[in-house]
């Protein structure tokens, strides 16, 4: 099935795409058919900068278990950062 389901969120950081590094401004996360991965469905993440054209994109198509492991690793890594290195969110 095509899920069409898409979460979009703002981002601040950089990514390395086909033409080198670029500032990342947005991300889309969705569970749908992959272009390349050999699976029926994958958890897909695009880190993008629409102002630089559609080619400014870092794309991932991950097996659901891999995606969950990656998400947990990201959270675990952030939780173990020494105090004072992550600025508090404004407001």
């Amino acid at each position: 099935m095509c899920t069409y389901q898409t979460t979009t969120l703002g981002m601040e950081g950089s990514g390395k795409g086909a033409d080198g590094w670029f500032p990342v401004t947005d991300a889309t996360v969705y569970f749908d058919h992959p272009v390349h991965a050999r699976a029926e469905h994958t958890l897909n993440i695009d880190l993008i900068n629409p102002s630089r054209g559609a080619g400014a994109r870092v794309a991932m198509e991950l097996d659901p278990l891999s995606a969950r492991a990656l998400a947990e690793a990201i959270l675990q890594t952030l939780e173990t950062v020494p105090p004072g290195l992550i600025a508090a969110a404004p407001g």
Binding site: M1, C2, T3, Y4, Q5, T6, T7, T8, D26, T28, Y30, D32, H33, V35, H36, R38, A39, E40, D46, I48, P50, G53, A54, G55, R57, A59
Partner: protein, 248 residues
């Protein structure tokens, strides 16, 4: 009959008089023939869809696939363009109708056109093929597993994918529907709802639901490919186009 064909990227006039990219394949024997507008699936104007477009030309039809993502991502690779279109919420229905109408007009303007035009679409393009056939004057339409024709999209989906079944009384041509029994979007229940609406509207249609097949059973490069369903589906498509696109 010669089997030579020419296939190339062309510029056509789409919705709002915008110039959009399209992939055109045409037999070179010059005999008058019908045309097919191929509506690509959500992953975009990709290699597989261009192959389908050439298949219609190999069977003697003029065929064109408009790049529905031209505006979001001019010149981008198909996967980047699909990602950009998704991030923006997909293709609006009115723009789709305008682009398919422009593609149909382009086919009819070709010297070897007999004036008759069909649409065919896969996945999201299946819904769009039905939408186009309810909005434009066409001679045949094929809906390959298009979802969200009779039912609204769940929360979190792009707004542009609303149900279009209410347009059934406006269907301008016979409709062929090819679906998988194991598909959830559209589910067999949703297909039955569309059948009911078409029957009530007195429209000509022919639906086939393949056992052992789910979504995207025509896609030869995906694990969802089901050769038996796809081969039978192709036979149905050409049987359907034969009389409906014949020169009169």
């Amino acid at each position: 009959m010669s089997d030579a064909m020419r296939a190339e990227t062309v510029a056509i006039t789409g919705h709002g008089q915008d110039t959009i990219e399209a992939y055109l394949a045409q037999p070179l024997d010059g005999d008058p023939t019908g045309g097919v507008v191929v509506i690509h699936h959500m992953p975009g104007y990709d290699e597989g869809t261009k192959e389908i477009t050439r298949k219609f030309a190999a069977h003697g039809y003029l065929a064109i696939c408009p790049n529905l993502y031209t505006r979001e991502a001019p010149g981008a690779s198909p996967d980047d363009a699909a990602a950009a279109a998704r991030a923006l919420g997909g293709v609006p229905d009115d723009r789709l109708v305008g682009d398919v109408g422009g593609a149909a007009a382009h086919l009819r303007s070709l010297a070897s056109s007999n004036g008759r035009v069909a649409t065919i679409g896969y996945c999201s393009g299946g819904r769009q093929s039905f939408l186009a056939a309810c909005s434009l004057d066409l001679d045949a339409a094929v809906d390959c597993y298009g979802a969200f024709v009779t039912r609204p999209t769940p929360e979190g989906f792009p707004l542009s994918f609303g149900p279009v079944v209410d347009l059934a009384p406006n269907l301008s041509c016979p409709l062929l529907g090819l679906f998988g029994a194991e598909d959830q979007y559209p589910s067999p229940e949703e297909v039955a709802e569309l059948e009911k609406a078409l029957t009530e509207a007195g429209k000509e249609f022919d639906f086939h639901i393949y056992e052992g097949a789910g979504h995207a059973f025509f896609a030869t490069n995906r694990p969802s490919y089901r050769p038996e369903a796809a081969n039978d589906g192709w036979e149905r498509i050409f049987e359907f186009f034969g009389p409906n696109l014949a020169t009169r």
